[in-house]
Amino acid sequence: MNQNITRVSELIICLVLFEVGSTTLFLLGGEAKQDAWLAVLIGALLGLFLLLLHLAIHRQNPSLDLFLLFRRYMGKYLGTCINLMFVGYFTYETSRNLRDLGELTVMTLLNQTPMWIIILITILVISNNVRYGPEIFFLICVVLFPFMLFTYMVIGILIPASGLIHYDFMFPILENGLKPVLKTAIPDIVSFPFGQTVLFLVFYPLATKGRNLSRAVIISYIVVALFLTLFNQLNILVLGPKIAANSTLPLLETVQLIQLAEVFERMDALFIMILFLGLGIKMTAFFNGAVIGLERITGVRSKKWILPLGAIILGLSFLSPNYTYHMEIGRVVAVKYWWPIFQFVLPLLLFVIMLIRKPKKK
């Protein structure tokens, strides 16, 4: 009768959609040119190690979430400090996705609508989503999953079927050696999108019903990583490394090229809807993480934090004066210097302390 328990499968589907999320909006590893797929794979591999680190932290103490863990092992003051930083990280990630969605809408669907209206409505919708809590959010992912899967499958079938793929764009492999590939993979691709799984340390303790969490998470992560590599490389195979690297929305441009039997034209509107859903899922997940963090820090119920935090997110999304600046911060500065702290340094610190403070078995 009790249907309010989150199952592992629901969490996994949420993780999958979260990883896909807004990733297909951008081209990963554009600097590696035709070897982007190698860069993404290397990034994914390193991301897998990060994921294993996160899972190891979770397995040490499966009942506590990220914030409670820091609080417990780092002490009251340092723990709260780090928790506040994490809340800031999640909030800022939400605001970045919000801005992405605003820019995407203005660029594609609504050219004449002021962006603040779109961003305002989006944050209202997202705040409403967060009001229901993470358990309902996982169920929403279960509902949306078939639609997302179906759309990506249609795109994945139609692009080769329209004869758009030029396999010669793949070659020569490793034209400039391994160095540029590694340079783009570390830390850029590791921290976006793969390292973002650190958020799920907040959600893992919720999934209590079902089988082995770690194994399911790892398997789904690998599948998603391969999927993202494939779709990322599709851009390069269709557009060529130069156009793909310079295009603002590469996969959208790729999808626009689909023309089949005068029926399957203009698939991009459909694809934009999927991008919206992906961005929305990402925003809702980060926002949920942030309000749960504030609840853990202050003890005030998370629902009360939605409105103030929503206002902050709304404000933060206007930080960048234009999209180029926004992209520069997001894809150059943040991925290299900010995100690794949250995705790698702090969890590693936590893990080491957990190992040291672990009561020794006699």
Binding site: Q3, E10, T113, I121, V142, L277
Partner: protein, 536 residues
């Protein structure tokens, strides 16, 4: 949502004024017959249908036995039998005062009625009279007898007017509770079919009966339903809608969390799925709970037709649900904001049509939808005789003439009428009404923000649907949370021999529906297959 709740909730709870004598504290019946008769006369007054009959030998002194009843509520033939027996009894005995218990028991034996009860309190006596019993009073005895010979005018069992089917039973519930329960009993001949009865409504004293099959329904759901029914304290229950609004899970949700049906076979099927049914006296509509979203798109006929065509029809219904919900808003969004999505030839056709129309697409759609809603409401309310006139006005003036006059585009008429027809495909009327309301909301969103607006409108609805529960069962089960075993009766209906279990999450302890290996066995074919083996 919160401010709405504060408005809808009264600030102070004032106790209900209790004026109905039935619900007041019980007082024992006075042993003096004239005293009791005076009391009855005082309470039930000079109503022309209230009859008090005293069997007396001489006109001056009152006899020892009296009967009271309300004329229209009882069966006249049975009444005359009863009176015959009473008169005979009175003639045979000289005095009734010797021993109270033997007198009443002797009298009880002689009365030719099956259902006869002994009543001790005055308010019970009045309730019995109002419920269609004949109350027999004996002088000097502190109790009364209530013989149930209910009768009077009632509607015959007819074909239900809503939820009609092509193949399947043609009988529907009536306003009479006992008839409805009989119709159900005829379908479910098991002692496990249980009823729990209760009178609700201070003035109406409406009988509300909870029906379930023990072992199939979840005990928690039964308890919860009983609790919710018991907490209702109002002056009247006239239709199942009253009960529905008092006991539903999300009182402010546009989505119904209880299903209503006029069909005994639907109720029987739902009880076999582990649901519970709530019968209300005075209405042919029975409530079913717990119910999931998809149940509103199932017709009882799905289980009688072949499984493949039923599955196809279910998908058609869901498709028309999406059309009814989204088509006008998609049309508005695409013609206003995203013309590039249309193929060029279609775009040119649409543009040439819209060239002469004076209003923007949103306004045009809103006007047309509102006009259609008006015609539809007129169709329900108007006298049947005027029907053809309205349909001519509706079809010709609003459809063709409006297009020819250049007020609306022909495409819009097509969109609105197809939406309207799609709306009628949804088998459940209250789900169809929900769709009607949400459609307007989505049209406004589409008119303001195009496809983005539609998505921004749909996402909160989706979250609401996922969070919604009906008696502890999630509304979108088995989709979210995903329940594999329930998929056999979801979009598709598997053949009956494959319908091995009852729906998970709804049904109780007994989940197995049938014995294993129910796949039809063709003995003739089997022999033919065996033959070559035998020859070897």
């Amino acid at each position: 949502m919160h401010w709405m709740k504060t408005i809808l909730k009264p600030a102070k709870r004032r106790p209900l004024k209790n004026t109905n004598p039935i619900t007041q504290t019980p007082e024992p019946i006075n042993s003096s017959l004239p005293h009791t008769l005076t009391l009855l006369h005082k309470i039930l007054g000079d109503s022309p249908d209230f009859i008090m009959r005293n069997f007396s030998d001489s006109p001056s002194e009152p006899g020892p036995i009296a009967i009271c009843y309300i004329e229209g509520l009882i069966e006249q033939n049975l009444l005359s039998d009863l009176m015959e027996a009473l008169i005979a009894e009175q003639a045979s005995k000289t005095s009734f005062t010797s021993d109270v218990h033997s007198t009443i028991n002797a009298l009880k034996q002689k009365i030719p009625t099956g259902n006869i009860k002994i009543i001790h309190a005055e308010n019970q006596m009045i309730a019995a009279i109002l419920a269609g019993n004949v109350v027999i009073l004996v002088d000097g005895v502190q109790v009364a007898l209530a013989a149930s010979i209910q009768g009077g005018i009632r509607r015959a069992v007819e074909e239900p007017t809503t939820q009609t089917v092509i193949r399947g039973p043609k009988e529907g519930f009536t306003e009479e509770l006992s008839t409805n329960i009989t119709l159900l009993r005829r379908k479910l001949r098991t002692p496990d079919l249980k009823f729990a009865s209760r009178n609700i409504g201070r003035y109406t004293q409406t009988r509300v009966v909870l029906a379930y099959i023990e072992g199939l329904a979840q005990p928690e759901v039964i308890e919860e339903a009983k609790k919710r029914l018991e907490s209702i304290d109002t002056d009247s229950i006239l239709e199942s809608g009253y009960i529905e609004e008092f006991i539903q899970d999300a009182p402010l949700s546009p989505f119904p969390t209880l299903l209503n049906t006029e069909r005994p076979d639907t109720v029987a099927g739902s009880l076999l799925d582990g649901q519970i049914a709530i019968f209300i006296d005075g209405t042919p509509f029975v409530l079913l709970a717990p119910v999931t979203f998809i149940k509103f798109f199932h017709s009882s006929e799905d289980y009688y037709q072949r499984y493949d065509i039923s599955s196809f029809l279910r998908i058609i219904r869901l498709f028309s649900f999406l059309i009814a919900l989204l088509l006008p808003s998609l049309y508005i969004a695409i013609t206003t904001f995203h013309q590039e999505m249309l193929p060029t030839t279609l775009l040119i056709t649409l543009a040439s049509q819209r060239e002469g129309t004076p209003f923007p697409a949103l306004l045009e759609a809103l006007i047309m939808e509102l006009i259609f809603e008006v015609i539809r409401e007129a169709g329900v309310r108007m006298p049947r005789v005027i029907g053809p006139a309205i349909s001519i006005v509706g079809a010709l003036v609003i459809g063709q003439a409006a297009v020819q006059a250049g007020l609306v585009s022909a495409a819009m008429v097509i969109v609105v009428s197809f939406t309207a027809i799609s709306n009628f495909v949804i088998p459940s009327f209250n789900m169809a009404s929900t769709v009607r309301l949400i459609r307007f909301f989505l049209m406004l969103m589409a008119g303001m923000l195009g496809l983005f607006g539609i998505l921004a409108g749909l996402i909160p609805i989706l979250f609401h649907l996922v969070a919604l529960q009906s008696f502890g069962v999630r509304y979108l089960t088995p989709f979210a949370p995903f329940t594999k075993s329930n998929m056999k009766d979801f979009f598709i209906r598997v053949p009956w021999w494959a319908m091995k279990t009852r729906p998970n999450g709804i049904s109780g302890p007994n989940k197995t529906r049938q014995a294993p290996h129910q796949y039809p066995v063709n003995s003739a074919k089997k022999e033919r297959c065996d033959e070559p083996n035998k020859q070897k």
